[in-house]
C-alpha cells in the first residue's frame, strides 16, 4: 500500500501541502484543518483516511517546496 511519507527534518511547517489538499477537495476553500494531510502533528508517516494520493500524482507532494514529502510504496 502506498503512503505519503514526511521528512520532518525537511518540513518547515509552511502548510502548502495542506493548502492545496483542502483547495482540491474542500469546495474551493482553503482550510488546513480539513486537509487530508496534516504536517503540524508529528506522525511517523502520513496515513490519512480518505486520501487516494490524487490518483498517482499527489498534489501535496507537488506543492512542497522543501522536498519533505514523498510517495512510498509498501
Amino acid at each position: 500500500m502506498a503512503r505519503i511519507k514526511i521528512d520532518h527534518n525537511k518540513c518547515c511547517e509552511c502548510c502548502l501541502c495542506e493548502i492545496v489538499c483542502s483547495l482540491q477537495y474542500n469546495e474551493n476553500t482553503v482550510n488546513p484543518k480539513k486537509s487530508r494531510i496534516a504536517v503540524l502533528f508529528r506522525k511517523p508517516d502520513i496515513d490519512i483516511i480518505g486520501c487516494d494520493h490524487c490518483g498517482d500524482e499527489p498534489q501535496c507532494i507537488k506543492a512542497c517546496l522543501s522536498e519533505a514529502l514523498a510517495l512510498a510504496v509498501g
Binding site: C12, C15, S22, E27, V30, N31, K34, L40, S66
Partner: protein
C-alpha cells in the same frame, strides 16, 4: 464573499462586550483589507486628535483577502491605530500564523475599542468569543504569555493550533516603542504595543476551523503553480533558509549605507560575511510563516556566559540598530539585546536608535553620566544590553528612553541628534546612501520606514532627478500589497521582477471583485492619500516631511557613500506635484475626487 470572509469582530473592552458586523463589500473593494481597510475604519471612527493612549483610540487587527488564501507569502496582517510615538497613523505588519488563523475563525478584522477595567485577554475560537481575565499574565514576557495561554488549553492539538499575539511588559508600561509579538514575529514599529497595553489587553488568542473561499479556484491554482515554479528556480530558495535577512548586513555595509554610531557614518569595519558568522556561531534552526517556504526566521542561541540565552533573530535591521548604530560589533551582545526586546515586547529598531541617540548625547557632553548611571560611550555593549532591559521596564534612566529618541533628544535640548522622521527612529539603511529611500523616510505616513518604498542598489542611488515619481509608484504599490495580506519578501523585493504581474492576478482570482494592475495601484494611492488626510487632521503639516539637519547638511564622512547629503529640496516639491498635492503637501480637491475621497477631504 470570496477572499474576504465578510465579517468584522468589534470588541468593546470597557463594557466587556462584542458584536459581529458584516463587512461592507464596496468598502472592501475600495480599500482591499489589511492596512487599507483598517485605516479607513480608523479614519471614519476615531478623532484624529485623540490621545493615542486613551480609550478613544482603537486598535485594529486586519487581514487582507489574500491572508490565509494559501498563496505563497499570504500570511500577513496589519495592526492599525494612532501611534503614541509619532502621533500619526500607524500600521505595523506582522507574519507568522495568526492572520490566517483569524480568517479560519471567521473574521477579516478585529476592532478593539475602549479600555478594560482590569487586565484581560481576548479568546476567539470560531464563533465563541470570550474576554478572559489576564491578571495572572500581566508582567509576563511575550514568550511566557504565549506558553501560559497554551498550557491552559486542555487539548494539545487545539493548544498547538491556537495562535497568540501578545504584548510584553513594555506594552503594559506604555513604552512608546512597544510592539506586539506572535511566535517570535513582531508588529514592531510605531508603538502599537503601548496602545494595546493602554487598553489593558494582554493578548489575543485565536483558533479557527473554517476556511477561505476562493472565487476562481482554477485560475488561483494555476497562479500558485506558476509562483511555485518561479520560486523553485530562484536562488533565494536556497539562500534564505540559510541566512534569512542576515545577508542584508554585509550588503548595506558594502554600499556604505549601514546605520553606524547614530547615523554619523554608514560603514563599520569588520562586518564582511556577517551572515556566515551568525550562521556558524548562533544559528539553531529556521522557521517560517504560513504558506511560505522561505524560512527567513532564525532561532539562535548565545553561549557566551555574559550574554547567554536562546530566542529569535535578530533580523538585519535589528542587528543594524542594536549593533553598528550603537558602535557595537560584539555579536553576542547584539543577539542578546534582540532577545530582550522580543521578550519585553518592544521594537528592536527604535530601541537601538534610542540608545544610539543617548550615546551621542553622552559623548557630546549633553547628557550627564549621573542621569544614565553609566559611562555611555559608543561601543559600550554591557550598558546597551542593560539599558534595553531598563527601557522595557521603565526602570531608572530607562523611563526616559521609553519615550523614544525624539523625546529624549528634545528633553536634553538637542532634538537635532534625533535620527528619524516624524518622531520615529530610522531603520538600518542610512538615508545618505539612497536619495529615493531618504525621500521615502521623509514622506512615509507612519514616520521613518524602510517598508514603504524601495531602496534600489544600483547607480541611481545618488540621483534625485525622477526619483519622486518612482517613489510614489512604489509607495502606492506597497500600500496595496500591505492591504492584500501579502509579504514584502516575495512581492516587493527587487529580485522578483514578476511581482507586479502576479499580485493583482492573485487578488482577482481570490476575490473575483474586478481587480487589475491599474486598479490595484489606484487603490494603493487612495490609501496613501487617506493616511495623509488622517495625519493632516491630527495636526501634522508639510514641515513634518523632513529629515535631521545632519542628514541634509553634513556629508557622509567615509565609506562607499562618502560625500553624500540628502538633497531633499530637489525631490520634495516634485513629489508633491506627482502626488497631486499643493505646495503645502495637502491633496488637491481634484486628486481627492479622482480617488473617490472627496467626502474624506472635507476639513
Amino acid at each position: 464573499m470570496h477572499g474576504w470572509i465578510g465579517k468584522i469582530l468589534r470588541v468593546d473592552l470597557t463594557r466587556g462586550s462584542y458584536a459581529i458586523e458584516d463587512l461592507d463589500p464596496s468598502m472592501a473593494k475600495s480599500f482591499i483589507g489589511g492596512r487599507g481597510l483598517a485605516s479607513k475604519l480608523l479614519f471614519d471612527e476615531v478623532d484624529a486628535k485623540v490621545d493615542p493612549l486613551s480609550p478613544g483610540n482603537t486598535l485594529t487587527f486586519a487581514t487582507g483577502p489574500l491572508t490565509g488564501s494559501g498563496t505563497i507569502g499570504g500570511s500577513r496582517y496589519m495592526i492599525v491605530t494612532k501611534s503614541p510615538l509619532t502621533m500619526a497613523i500607524a500600521c505595523s505588519n506582522i507574519g507568522g500564523y495568526f492572520g490566517p488563523e483569524l480568517k479560519f475563525a471567521g473574521y477579516d478584522i478585529v476592532i478593539l475599542e475602549g479600555r478594560a477595567p482590569d487586565p484581560v485577554y481576548l479568546s476567539i475560537e470560531d464563533d465563541h468569543v470570550e474576554i478572559k481575565p489576564a491578571e495572572h499574565l500581566w508582567g509576563k514576557t511575550t514568550v511566557e504569555t504565549e506558553d501560559r495561554i497554551r498550557s491552559e488549553i486542555g487539548d494539545p492539538r487545539k493548544a498547538k493550533e491556537t495562535q497568540i499575539a501578545t504584548i510584553g511588559p513594555a506594552g503594559e508600561n506604555l513604552v512608546r516603542i512597544a510592539c506586539i509579538m506572535h511566535a517570535g514575529h513582531a508588529a514592531g514599529r510605531s508603538g502599537v504595543g503601548a496602545v494595546m497595553g493602554a487598553k489593558h489587553l494582554k493578548a489575543v488568542a485565536v483558533r479557527g476551523t473554517k476556511g477561505v473561499a476562493i472565487a476562481d479556484a482554477d485560475s488561483f491554482k494555476e497562479l500558485l503553480a506558476t509562483l511555485s515554479d518561479k520560486i523553485r528556480k530562484s536562488p533565494a530558495l536556497e539562500r534564505r533558509p540559510l541566512y534569512g535577512t542576515w545577508t542584508g548586513i554585509s550588503r548595506a555595509n558594502k554600499f556604505g549605507v549601514l546605520a553606524t554610531r547614530n547615523f554619523q557614518a554608514g560603514y563599520l569595519e569588520g562586518l564582511d560575511g556577517t551572515e556566515k558568522v551568525l550562521r556558524e556561531k548562533f544559528f539553531v534552526k529556521s522557521h517560517t510563516c504560513f504558506s511560505c517556504p522561505f524560512q527567513e526566521f532564525k532561532t539562535t542561541r548565545v553561549t557566551d556566559p555574559e550574554f547567554q540565552g536562546e530566542g529569535e533573530g535578530p533580523e538585519w535591521e535589528s542587528f543594524g540598530l542594536l549593533g553598528p548604530d550603537c558602535g557595537i560589533s560584539n555579536f553576542a551582545a547584539i543577539v542578546k539585546a534582540n532577545y530582550l526586546c522580543n521578550e519585553l515586547g518592544m521594537d528592536t529598531i527604535s530601541a537601538g536608535g534610542t540608545i544610539a541617540c543617548a550615546m551621542e548625547l553622552y559623548e557630546r557632553g549633553l547628557l550627564p553620566a549621573d542621569d544614565i548611571g553609566y559611562q555611555l560611550n559608543f561601543g559600550n555593549e554591557k550598558a546597551m544590553v542593560e539599558l534595553v532591559k531598563r527601557l522595557g521596564l521603565r526602570q531608572g534612566f530607562g523611563d526616559i528612553l521609553a519615550e523614544g529618541a525624539y523625546r529624549l533628544a528634545e528633553k536634553y535640548g538637542h532634538p537635532e541628534f534625533f535620527m528619524g522622521a516624524k518622531k520615529q527612529e530610522f531603520p538600518g539603511f542610512h538615508p545618505q546612501g539612497f536619495q529615493i529611500l531618504a525621500l521615502g523616510y521623509a514622506t512615509s505616513n507612519r514616520g521613518a520606514c524602510h517598508l514603504k518604498n524601495v531602496a534600489y542598489y544600483d547607480e541611481t542611488r545618488f540621483e534625485t532627478a525622477g526619483q519622486a515619481a518612482i517613489a510614489k509608484t512604489d509607495q502606492d504599490y506597497i500600500a496595496a500589497i500591505d492591504s492584500s495580506g501579502l509579504c514584502h519578501a516575495i512581492y516587493i523585493r527587487d529580485f522578483f521582477p514578476w511581482r507586479e504581474e502576479i499580485a493583482p492576478a492573485l487578488l482577482e482570482a481570490a476575490t473575483g471583485a474586478g481587480y487589475g494592475k491599474e486598479s490595484m495601484l489606484l487603490t494603493g494611492e487612495r490609501l496613501w492619500n487617506l493616511e495623509r488626510l488622517f495625519n493632516l487632521k491630527a495636526g501634522l503639516t508639510a514641515r513634518d516631511d523632513t529629515l535631521p539637519k545632519r542628514i541634509l547638511e553634513e556629508p557622509m564622512p567615509e565609506g562607499p557613500s562618502k560625500g553624500q547629503v540628502v538633497r531633499l529640496g530637489e525631490m520634495l516639491p516634485e513629489y508633491y506635484e506627482v502626488r497631486g498635492w499643493d505646495e503645502n503637501g495637502v491633496p488637491t480637491a481634484e486628486k481627492l475626487a479622482e480617488l473617490g475621497l472627496s467626502q474624506e477631504g472635507v476639513r
